[in-house]
Symmetry: C2
Subunit: 336 residues, 2 copies
């Protein structure tokens, strides 16, 4: 089983996933990655994945398929096993690690699926997140996509991943804390206020839809970093209605197409920033909840066109060579 270990200097948890073990020799820098001719996610190769969790039927067999990750970072069985190791803290690597295969097609990336197919995929995201939320050992459920080798995708066939973690990750805690502090003073949602200002200033807006806005954040870390958020307050992605889900699919497809056309199919990551599953309620000891005003869900897309270097690792802040205003203008003017 993997370990979760806590760094007392950076107050950060790390997963030491030795079941995905690679021997030191495997890291030799010059070793070329072998091109795989066999794809375990293609129709006909279903035997090559662990047993299916769920699937959506299409015209010929499945059109979306969810399976456990064959080399999971976290495993579902066991208890948290929280313990101290002298000055350090660790716990068992419990959680869940699933793969959502976007479509049977090895070649068609998400941007090029139909809106209806994307809606079906979003419904699968919701269904899996909803199911994992039932397990209160899991504090957070992250859905993300790695597209392209440089973005960390180890298999080419388009897929997303879902990881449920037994702690609330530091990035998420920070967002929750900022939203809480802001609400405490103003009784307004921080992210609602940011969206209002972006819609007024317009210069960082890529696309305004009836219910969703796409913009490049004011303090973007990366060139063409893009955020898709509901224009109305909603803390939990699971609450979106069928109509909202359709409009979100339209916005997602449009944004991914703009990035694909404008930057020649760049590698990218996207992450669904959603409210945590359960968190400690500060004023009601023993009670776990997520407060409605604590969050405002959004999807963050990071094209991987620049490299992290020593400055970023050493400081946690970022040098972005493209102003988000220029990135938004460029993306806005692309015809899709």
């Amino acid at each position: 089983m993997s370990d979760l270990r806590h760094d007392p200097i950076q107050k950060r948890w790390v997963i030491i996933a030795t079941e995905r073990v690679r021997r030191p020799q495997d890291f030799h820098a010059k070793e070329e990655k072998k091109k795989m001719s066999f794809c375990p996610f293609c129709p006909g190769n279903e035997h090559a994945t662990p047993p299916e969790i769920m699937s959506v039927k299409g015209q010929n067999g499945w059109k979306i398929r969810v399976v456990p990750n064959k080399f999971p970072a976290l495993r579902i069985e066991g208890d948290t096993g929280r313990q101290g190791v002298g000055i350090f803290d660790k716990m068992n690597g419990i959680g869940a690690h699933e793969v959502v295969i976007d479509s049977p097609s090895h070649e068609t990336s998400l941007a090029y699926l139909s809106v209806d197919d994307i809606v079906d995929l979003l419904k699968v995201w919701q269904e899996r997140i909803r199911d994992l939320c039932k397990d209160t050992r899991f504090r957070y459920i992250l859905l993300f996509k790695n597209h392209g080798d440089a973005a960390g995708a180890s298999l080419e066939h388009p897929h997303c991943q879902i990881i449920a973690t037994p702690i609330t990750p530091r990035t998420v805690s920070m967002e929750l804390q900022s939203c809480k502090e802001y609400f405490f003073v103003k009784e307004r949602c921080l992210i609602c206020d940011i969206i209002t200002q972006e819609l007024e200033q317009k210069m960082r807006v890529v696309r305004v839809g009836e219910r969703f806005v796409v913009f490049t954040p004011f303090a973007s870390r990366f060139p063409f970093e893009t955020c898709i958020a509901p224009r109305f307050h909603q803390h939990d992605f699971l609450m979106t209605t069928a109509e909202e889900l359709h409009l979100f699919a339209v916005a997602l497809k449009d944004t991914l197409l703009r990035l694909s056309v404008g930057l020649d199919d760049p590698p990218y990551n996207f992450m669904l920033h959603n409210a945590p599953n359960v968190q400690w309620h500060p004023h009601r000891p023993g009670y776990w909840t997520t407060l409605e005003h604590d969050y405002h869900w959004h999807l963050e897309i990071i094209p991987r066109v620049t490299k992290m270097a020593g400055f970023e690792w050493g400081t946690g802040f970022y040098i972005n060579p493209t102003a988000p205003e220029d990135a938004a203008k460029y993306l806005r003017e692309i015809e899709v």
Copy 2:
């Protein structure tokens, strides 16, 4: 001039460095990086860099040379210009951005310089950091190295960089805060206590010298992440004596050689985590200082053998496929 912008959700500063501007078209993923035949850091090409800040004389011309970065992320002229932009905050991109050319040799990486040459280089680091510290607009001075293309090095010729920032970066603030909180309770240094435990447990220790220890941190984010720290308490790298500097050079060369031999010259970043230049003293308003017990300097080395992916970006925590105990054992057993 670049902007420093603050993200109110992640409470993180970002440098929007438009003077290093690349047009959106420049990011096309498939564009191959051109191999440069001309190296501005090689002897004879001194005219190709901005005017020299300092140099150390060798047998034939200079052996170490410091120049301003030709495309600086931050510039020395101007005031901080702190201002609000509606809900956001920004300030001018003031600071300093220097390049330290390690040696005249284009081919010899730091690991293969002599100990004496490394000592001279460390003295140059100290001299430049000491000089930049005089400017109290600069809250933090980071020295780092990007080695290899995958680690973000844009020029092959071995060099380090120094960036002075007008704010204390979030990563540094977090380390300071952890050390302060720990000292407040225990009146001992957190990092001293970690080193004591590492020396007792031995399994993550790569090398123990008389004054410096090299170990793989308990919660390593990356395979073969390595830390070099003084075994005695010292908050500021500028305080090291000539003898300590020599022993640090020995430890640094030995560690870089082990990584180079064991992982076949991997790309890597290293960052000198040093005490900040000036910070707001919580109990003495109007007075800037660094408290002696607030920090314990160390050098962090990250071989870039795995890729950051959506999970890491979305959560700020990391999946490391190699246990630090295994990494330490592997590095310990390499003959250098």
